[in-house]
Symmetry: C2
Subunit: 339 residues, 2 copies
DNA sequence: CTGAAAGCGCTTACAG
DNA sequence: CTGAAAGCGCTTACAG
């Protein structure tokens, strides 16, 4: 028996069974039109057996061309990783993967690096059916998506364009954080951003902070620090030092606490610290961090479902916008005010 | 002028220029056979202009079928993320992406989840030219790769199969760690693994620890703890407590230090802690962690180059094995022994 | 119940 | 310097 050196195609299977390619295709795709019983159980079994024996596996290349779809979803991110998502990223990816996998889609990773031409091509060469954007939608990308009619959804990023998007309620999350500190008796509650990328969460958290402080009658104590954490440490030496601070994200909070520790300032005894993101090792930091958790997996799932919806309706479904709830997790980096 | 609703194909461009598809294809691919000047500069310019005006962009679907290659590399990992790579993962991915991007390849993400059938298909449906394996090569996968003749390379994973692989020198890294502690005067140096997945680094680090302790004449102080960190904390209350410990990885080290902190045991004063992985927030932990860093980016780059090499030689290149050097980074979680 | 044929959008010998 | 034609491996009306 002469074994071909190349992998078997559908034609090989058909030949070996003495049936047409049509029949093989129909069987292997279960595309039996509901009405007519397409093939005899007999042929079906034979085809399946032969296909298995030959080790036939359909070429996705042929399939893609013929079907006009690839069942691949691009996952676009600004490398190294969306900075605001770091740590949250695992959860988001898990959520995305969960629903994509359930619907037999796969993830194509597209780092939006320095070379827009390169990813411009990938986005318009029809290799993906849609995409998920893990970074803000700014212009080389926005234009590209628009003109390529590629269905998409934003995750953890806001946009002025009418595209589906999933974000967390940063405003409410911040409010939970401020209220928690107020309940602990704090009044001098500052907010530290550090050097931060442009991201809607920055705006929302700032607004949430300002509004909530006002509502609590603490307008005079509003104090926003946008510089590096070093500045904050200095501030702690002055007489306008706050007793609590809300830090833009967990990595920054850890850095700040480490710097304070070096200066001999104790958290939470001398300063309560609350932050955002419940990603490792927030719970194992010293002290364990009080933080506002984003519902990362749910965000990933929701966004994935949105692209799929767009794909299935050929972009006719109106773009939805989901705002998911954040949840404050109280640990030991915040405590009742002393003195 | 009637605008077609569908995206232009190469045939549309050809027609609009009054040339053949061949000519358009040749021009757009720069596949001018070196010998003959394929097309007149005139035609070339015209074709390019028309293609641009029409917004033509080659279909990767057609291309893939015709070229028999997709320029996609699968990145296979055991979700949620290879546990031993957590944190290191960003560097590895960056390295992979760097060389893949340079060679015009793209990354397809394939989580090796509970359902081998699902990823089995992706791996054999010809959608990728090769793959990078970020987890150990065990059997449903190993068999699959073998029979599909898919070029591959392992990153941070060892294997009995003769496949290209890139690992870090865990033995040497551990040796650096032990020696560092010995130099600080420690003799009772323990090693904590915690509940750990099967991974070659476990074996290597254990061996490196045992051997180096012996060489230093400290055989009697060899003490390996494989249980949860709770056990170690208990050990610290006993009279056989070590003065230093090497912890399998940074996340575990942080957790341990946090638990010790809760028990009132101070690091590094009462216990020096050295670990592995220089991933965030190792430098910002309290105290900043002494750790053995893996050359993550380099590992990613090397592995990516290995798959590309396999692809270009159709698997004829002998599988290479790279062992890269780890580097101890001394911070403040280790100190000279006191008392 | 089954097959012949066209088509998906490219590339590439080959011939001129 | 350029084009006609076959082929990559599938799917899917359509006809029987």
């Amino acid at each position: 028996m002469i074994q071909s050196m190349t992998r078997p195609t559908i034609a090989d299977v058909a030949r070996a069974c003495g049936v047409s390619k049509t029949t093989v295709s129909v069987i292997l795709n279960n595309s039996l039109a509901s009405s007519s019983a397409r093939v005899s159980a007999d042929t079906e079994q034979r085809v399946r057996d032969v296909a298995a024996k030959l080790g036939y596996s359909p070429s996705w290349r042929g399939r893609a061309l013929s079907n006009r779809r690839t069942r691949m979803i691009g996952v676009l991110y600004a490398p190294p990783m969306p900075i605001v998502v770091r740590g949250n990223y695992e959860g988001i990816m898990a959520g995305i993967n969960e629903v994509l996998h359930k619907h037999a889609y796969h993830m194509l990773f597209v780092p939006l690096d320095d070379d827009p031409k390169a990813w411009g091509e990938v986005l318009s060469d029809q290799r993906m059916d849609g995409c998920l954007v893990l970074s803000r939608l700014r212009d080389p990308l926005a234009a590209l998506l628009r003109q390529s009619h590629l269905p998409c959804a934003l995750v953890n990023a806001d946009s002025d364009y009418p595209v589906p998007q999933v974000i967390a309620d940063e405003y409410d999350g911040t409010q939970q954080s401020v209220k928690h500190l107020v309940e602990l008796g704090h009044r001098k509650i500052a907010m530290l951003f550090g050097i931060v990328p442009p991201h809607f969460s920055v705006t929302q958290r700032r607004r949430g902070y300002i509004d909530t402080m006002r509502e609590a009658g603490l307008s005079e104590h509003i104090q926003i620090i946008e510089d590096a954490p070093e500045e904050f440490v200095e501030l702690m030496q002055s007489d306008v030092r706050p007793t609590a601070v809300i830090v833009y994200m967990h990595f920054l909070a850890m850095k700040l606490i480490r710097m304070l520790w070096e200066s001999g300032i104790k958290v939470p005894e001398q300063l309560s610290v609350s932050t955002f993101n419940d990603a490792s090792p927030a719970a194992d930091f010293i002290p364990p961090l009080t933080t506002v958790a984003l519902p990362t997996e749910e965000m990933g799932r929701a966004a994935a479902m949105m692209v799929l919806e767009q794909i299935e309706t050929s972009g006719k479904a109106p773009p939805r916008r989901a705002v998911l709830r954040e949840q404050l997790i109280v640990r030991r980096s915040t405590m009742v005010i002393t003195g």
